[in-house]
Amino acid sequence: MSTTSRFNRRDFLKAAAPAAIAVTQGIAPAQTLGAQDMQPQYMPVFFTGAEWAFVSAAVDRLIPADAQGPGGVEAGVPVFIDRQLDMPYGHGAYFYMQGPFHTDAPPSLGYQLQYTPRELYRLGIAAADNACKQAKGRAFSELSHPEQEQFLTTLEKGTVSLQGPPATTFFAQLLTNTREGYFADPMYGGNRGMGAWKMIGFPGARADFTNWMGQQGRAYPYGPTAINGSRS
């Protein structure tokens, strides 16, 4: 297993600078990219430049590019998250959002914060970047990979206190949406080229195993198809 990222940090930072309105998703090193791999520029609809830098850097650590398969960023996961947050889901339309909010309720009673997913990201990213700046003098996206991983671990374990939503809640939201984007149908912006499905061997929307019921125990031979009919 390789833990070395193909991520080119300098190129990424340039692309993700807050001043940049349009930012680049093609972030694998140029020497490994053919023209066909170049992704069109994506303009975030929800995230600000600074937020986009955070989410892109975080997704790149949660699902790094390595020899196993596509990284979260090259798979389009930040695009997925940005689009989801612009949809009813991001506005909390799927959740019961009436108060009062018992934020001290036992965790076993589930999510009890007043934040929609958009608000969780907006406040969570600001608080996380702020925590990084206080500790290291730099925003999260400007930290080294080991520093980023260490910081994400403190979010996950709740050993850092954010001036905003609880660290564990913010981390859980980020990890959940990252996995969703990685494995959802490509039409939502992630799982580009069905790369995540190919990596694990999921045949996507084939949804027809009539002739494989009697052949159990043998590896299913076909690659995935997407809902729009594309194959890989």
């Binding site: 297993m1 833990t3 650590r61 949660l62 699902i63 790094p64 390595d66 196993q68 398969g69 889901y89 909390g92 339309a93 799927y94 959740f95 019961y96 959002m97 009436q98 009062p100 018992h102 309720a105 036992p106 965790p107 076993s108 009673l109 589930g110 999510y111 009890q112 991983e149 994400l152 990890l175 990252t178 996995r179 969703e180 494995f183 959802a184 149908d185 939502y188 995540a196 499905w197 990596m199 694990i200 061997g201 999921f202 045949p203 996507g204 929307a205 949804a207 027809d208 195993f209 009539t210 494989w212 019921m213 009697g214 159990q216 125990g217 043998r218 590896a219 299913y220 809902i227 009919g229």
Partner: protein, 592 residues
């Protein structure tokens, strides 16, 4: 001021499984019927069409077919001294909405109850003595027997085109079926589909341990099939998208694929969708329903008078509407008096994930909601001697995944990283070579576990949410630990590289974040008299004799099996009595 509609013979609240059964029964009898459904109209085409339905994010995760919690949810607390919090996001259970109800997104696991499940208190007292039942456990007998329900179980299986292998045919134990089932009058209408590979591994191991695995009874059709109503189904292709999805192949039984097609053109039936019933209206004596009030699609309040009211919404909604309408006496956990909201119960599920070598090709994406699965029933109901174990109830243990949806159904060993390259390595290594095996166990009813109206939280119409007061009890921890231990023995026998069991350990609280099952029960239970129940054996309200209440709200305590077979059997039993007796002379069908 509500608009008042012309009176009809019967109004049906909720157009899912039991609503469809009652709509057929009542329109067959020539009654004018209005069915009110809170959600949208839905049908195989265009709502469940391939390939749009094969969308894990939209249906499996966001739940576009489920009841929108933004409009209405329940609140939950562990004890009556806690303040309840709303169930804001889906976790522990997923509620249906729209035409077909939860019958659209269910798996199709179509069990009957065991005979002793229906006379549980008497059975336990006879076999183990009265002291075997804990003082605070409020289980009671159904006022109807397995033998009385059997023709209706049989009929519903034929309506669904159920697949399986009989294990007890008219008293003769048959090889290959469930030897613990009650005597069935007929074979399953269709043979089972072949077991998926994880089921085959399970069957081999279970057989080595001396158990008798059999095909899980499934409402996933194995062949072209025409049901007794003339409605046709096609064979399941094991697409792996039953659970949480509508079926694009007309294979999974749902109201849409079994009953609704013959009702569509009936002139004496009108279905009004997006119609949210807020109250059952009673006359001054409060012993007779005069109709219902609902909010229509345009937000207008409408009064629909009717001579007969059938409450056939989901279990939670049945109980809530009874409480909001003042039908029956609300349950008081302090005194144990009152009945509406009493005996809420659930299920306790444990799962063992097995991780195999890379040459063991599980192909987890090949599967169906019930077909292809194999089960054992040795440790369910009272199929084994409980005297040394100190608990009541048990679990059905089964194998064969409902699919390999990669967001929600990914299995990796507990020690594997949750993110980073280590996580990627784990999902790549294990996705095609892992399987989960389940024990789904009963939950008994208790004096302190109940449903009432929340004093604080409201739905989008400003009406109180239903409040659940529930937590696990010693009996269930013991039951689940015993079942999980049996399950682990079977998994160990398969010799996987590793395995891991997830279960609620003694002392842990009910966790609303973790999916368990949508088999919530009780709150409008059936019983032998008005002091111990809301409805009689024919699902008729003791207090309001022209009101019938369908569904799993009737269960006095829960079973280890999935509830649809039992609740449909109870509905057909009720329908038969309504047709034969009630409509000829409307009155209480059982003397109080």
């Amino acid at each position: 001021m509500a608009t008042r509609k012309k009176s009809v013979d019967a109004v049906i609240i909720g157009y899912g499984w039991t609503g469809a059964i009652m709509a057929k029964t009542l329109t067959d009898a020539g009654l004018s019927v209005i069915a009110l459904e809170r959600g949208p109209a839905r049908d195989t085409a265009p709502d469940f069409e391939y390939p749009r339905i094969i969308d894990e994010l939209k249906h499996g995760i966001r739940g576009d077919l489920w009841q929108p919690l933004a409009k209405e949810t329940v609140t939950i607390r562990h004890t009556s001294s806690d303040v309840a919090s709303p169930y804001r996001q889906y976790g522990s259970f997923v509620l249906g909405t729209g035409v077909g109800g939860s019958g659209v997104h269910w798996n199709g696991q179509l069990w009957r109850a065991s005979p002793e499940d229906l006379r549980l208190r008497s059975h336990i007292e006879q076999r183990y003595g009265k002291k075997f039942i804990p003082e605070d456990m409020t289980i009671q007998d159904y006022p109807v027997t397995f033998e009385e329900l059997e023709p209706h179980f049989d009929h519903f299986e034929k309506v669904c085109g159920a697949t399986g292998t009989a294990g007890n045919l008219r008293g003769t134990i048959k090889a290959g079926g469930n030897p613990f089932e009650g005597a069935r009058s007929d074979e399953f209408p269709s043979p089972p589909l072949p077991p998926v590979y994880s089921s085959q591994l399970f069957a081999k191991a279970a057989s080595e341990l001396g158990y008798k695995p059999f095909p899980l009874p499934a409402a996933n059709s194995s062949r072209a099939y025409t049901n007794p109503y003339g409605v046709r189904q096609g064979p399941c292709n094991m697409c792996g998208f039953c659970e949480r999805f509508g079926c694009f192949l007309y294979s999974k039984a749902s109201p849409q694929t079994t009953i609704l097609p013959i009702l569509v053109n009936r002139p004496n039936l009108e279905v009004r969708t997006n119609s949210y019933v807020t109250r059952i209206l009673l006359d001054k004596s409060r012993t007779r329903a005069t109709g219902v009030v609902y909010v229509d699609e345009g937000g207008q309040e409408v009064e629909q008078p009717a001579d007969l009211v059938v409450l056939s919404a989901f279990q939670f909604h049945n109980v809530r509407l009874l409480l909001m309408s003042g039908v029956g006496r609300p349950y008081d956990p302090g005194t144990g008096q009152g009945v509406v909201g009493k005996n809420y119960a659930y299920q306790m599920v444990a799962g063992t994930a097995a991780f195999f070598k890379e040459d063991v090709e599980i192909n987890p994406f090949i599967g169906a909601g019930g077909a292809g699965m194999l089960a054992i029933d040795e440790f369910n109901s009272d199929h084994f001697d409980h005297s040394a174990h100190g608990f009541i109830g048990g679990s059905v243990i089964f194998a064969g995944g409902t699919g390999g949806r990669p967001i929600a159904q990914m299995l990796i060993p507990p020690g594997a990283p949750r993110w980073g390259s280590g996580w990627k390595e784990a999902v790549k290594r294990h996705y095609r070579h892992s399987a989960i095996f389940i024990s789904q166990g009963s939950v008994m009813s208790y004096r302190s576990r109940y449903l009432d109206l929340d004093p604080t939280y409201k739905d989008s119409h400003g009406l109180p949410l239903l409040r659940m007061t529930f937590d696990w009890h010693d009996n269930e921890y013991k039951m689940a630990a015993y079942s999980a231990a049996r399950l682990e023995e079977i998994v160990k026998t398969m010799k996987p590289d590793s395995f891991a069991t997830e279960m609620f350990k003694h002392g842990t609280h009910y966790d609303t974040r973790i999916y368990q099952s949508t088999h919530t029960t009780g709150g409008a239970i059936m019983g032998s008299n008005p002091s111990n129940s809301v409805i009689n054996r024919y699902s008729q309200s003791w207090d309001v004799s022209n009101l019938f209440v369908m569904g799993a709200s009737a269960f006095p305590q829960n079973i280890g099996y999935n509830p649809t077979g039992l609740l449909a059997g109870l509905a057909y039993f009720s329908a038969s009595e309504i047709r034969e007796k009630y409509l000829k002379s409307p009155r209480p069908l059982v003397d109080a």
